[in-house]
């Protein structure tokens, strides 16, 4: 039997309007503890805004209920490090001066040399790992990850997926991933939320392989409840 504590997040009737434009409309979904949820949808579907809303960064109507014990780690899609001479260690210390080394070890970047590297010289994959380390400081039990493989080469993608899976197993972290990567959805996630302003699908992520479902998610918008 399912108890309310099985769920770490419940979203109901979530609507977000920014600058007189409706970005999200009547979105409903819930996330069980320990589950990895993929959020997919076309560009401009409101996926990043959904994360910003879950982080309480934008105004909304409807309900967002996090479990009382929730600790959220957030990995944004982009950061701008080109003009800032900041080392990996300094950057991570801006979040917290403790737990830097365990966080770097968890993402397999724990050498002293690496900590002194400037952020702007890192490869796309290394930068993603540093951002995950940022999110892991303070030991979160939920990770919101916006486009895990953006700016990462093909070989690096697989190792990031592998690392995320390992983190999930070892730390029992619930993950919400925004992604365009069908392979990632199929192999490494449990549930799937199709989003295109409204929720277009919510169910098992394995079903992403079905062409009709891809058409439903990326094609003409049919909101859940309308069919």
């Amino acid at each position: 039997m399912e108890g309310s504590s099985d769920y770490i997040l419940r979203v109901s009737n979530l609507t977000v309007e920014l600058q007189n434009q409706i970005i999200l409309e009547h979105v409903n979904f819930k996330v069980k503890r320990g589950v990895t949820l993929a959020i997919v949808g076309p560009n401009g579907a409101g996926k990043t805004v959904l994360f910003r809303t879950l982080l309480n960064l934008v105004p909304y109507t409807g309900k967002i209920e996090w479990a009382p014990d929730v600790k959220i780690g957030y990995v944004p899609q982009n950061i701008s490090v080109k003009d800032v001479p900041i080392s990996v260690k300094e950057f991570l210390s801006y979040k917290s001066s403790s737990d830097i080394e365990p966080a770097l070890t968890a993402v397999k970047l724990d050498t002293k040399d690496f900590q002194n590297k400037t952020l702007r010289v890192l490869s796309g994959g290394q930068l993603r790992r540093v951002l995950i380390a940022w999110a892991l400081i303070d030991n979160p039990n939920v990770l919101l990850f916006d486009e895990p493989t953006v700016g990462v080469d093909v070989g690096g993608e697989e190792s990031i997926f592998f690392m995320l899976n390992e983190l999930k197993q070892k730390r029992n972290i619930t993950m919400l991933l925004i992604t365009h990567d069908i392979h990632l959805v199929k192999e490494y996630t449990d549930e799937l939320l199709g989003l295109n302003k409204c929720a277009t699908f919510f169910g098992e992520s394995q079903r992403i392989a079905e062409p009709s479902l891809q058409q439903r998610i990326y094609g003409e918008t049919v909101c859940l409840g309308e069919t």
Binding site: D83, V84, P85, K95
Partner: protein, 261 residues
């Protein structure tokens, strides 16, 4: 060494340190021209001080302070950038300031600085203000840098970017106000920009970047004041030339390192 020269050295070292430290953020934010243009906003205040017989620096400071708050507020309401608003404000302030100055010597001192007018009181104020600016900048620079790297990360850590920006603009105002004595309104912006630009070229982490910016700022100001005392000319241009010499030396060091590697 005359008394006013000693006081000028104290003011120069204090302002150079504070301006270099504070300016390092300005260069990162690509707001270098904001610091430069902000300094001209002080001119009408200086003129009113001369006209009405109160301390011109107080007038300059009040103008800077009020302008900083207005610019911050208008930027929030209209979403116009600081650069645009400061750009509009500084030309207006320059025009009003020049119209108000009847005495050309006083105008020259306001534009280019005058160490003969530096007193023990202004030296004391410069030390106190510079210490306060450095301490407050230390408290907010991580927030500003995080906001530059990712606004989302900063906000998700509970940082109010708008409030931090206001405090930062006010710190720029007070630093510019005390720097005017040495370099004048026309050149004080230099102290917030060039030392940080030189430091940026050779820094691979923030600690080094901040420390070198402050050091270069202090060296530029001290050398400029010393040369000004020696040659008996206005200090402002010599502070600028000293700072540019540091910038060129840093460029050459980097160039040499690149060739060697």
């Amino acid at each position: 060494m005359s008394e006013s020269l000693i006081f000028s050295l104290i003011v120069g070292a204090s302002v150079g340190l504070a301006a270099g430290y504070l300016g390092s953020i300005m260069v990162l934010e690509k707001m270098a021209l904001v610091g430069d243009a902000m300094s001209h906003v002080a001119l009408p205040g200086l003129a009113l001080g001369v006209l009405l017989g109160f301390n011109p620096l107080l007038g300059g400071f009040l103008f800077l302070f009020v302008s900083a708050i207005l610019i911050w507020h208008i930027s929030r309401v209209t979403k116009l950038s600081f650069e645009t608003l400061v750009g509009a404000a500084f030309t207006l302030a320059l025009a009003i300031g020049i119209l108000l100055f009847k005495n050309l010597d006083a105008l020259e001192a306001a534009l280019f600085g005058d160490i003969a007018q530096v007193t023990v009181l202004s030296a004391g104020i410069a030390i106190a203000v510079s210490v306060a600016v450095i301490v407050l900048t230390r408290l907010i620079y991580k927030k500003i840098v995080l906001g530059l790297i990712s606004e989302e990360l900063a906000i998700s850590k509970g940082i109010s970017i708008a409030k931090t920006n206001l405090l930062y603009l006010l710190l720029v105002s007070v630093t510019v106000a005390i720097g005017i004595q040495i370099t004048g309104t026309l050149l004080v912006g230099f102290l917030v920009v060039t030392p940080a630009a030189a430091s940026r070229i050779i820094s691979s982490n923030m600690s080094r970047y901040l420390a070198l910016s402050a050091t270069f700022g202090a060296i530029s100001a001290i050398s400029g004041v010393l040369l000004s005392g020696y040659f008996n000319v206005l200090p402002g241009p010599l502070v600028v030339i000293s700072g540019v010499v540091i910038f060129v030396i840093v460029l050459l060091i980097r160039w040499r390192k690149k060739i060697e590697s």
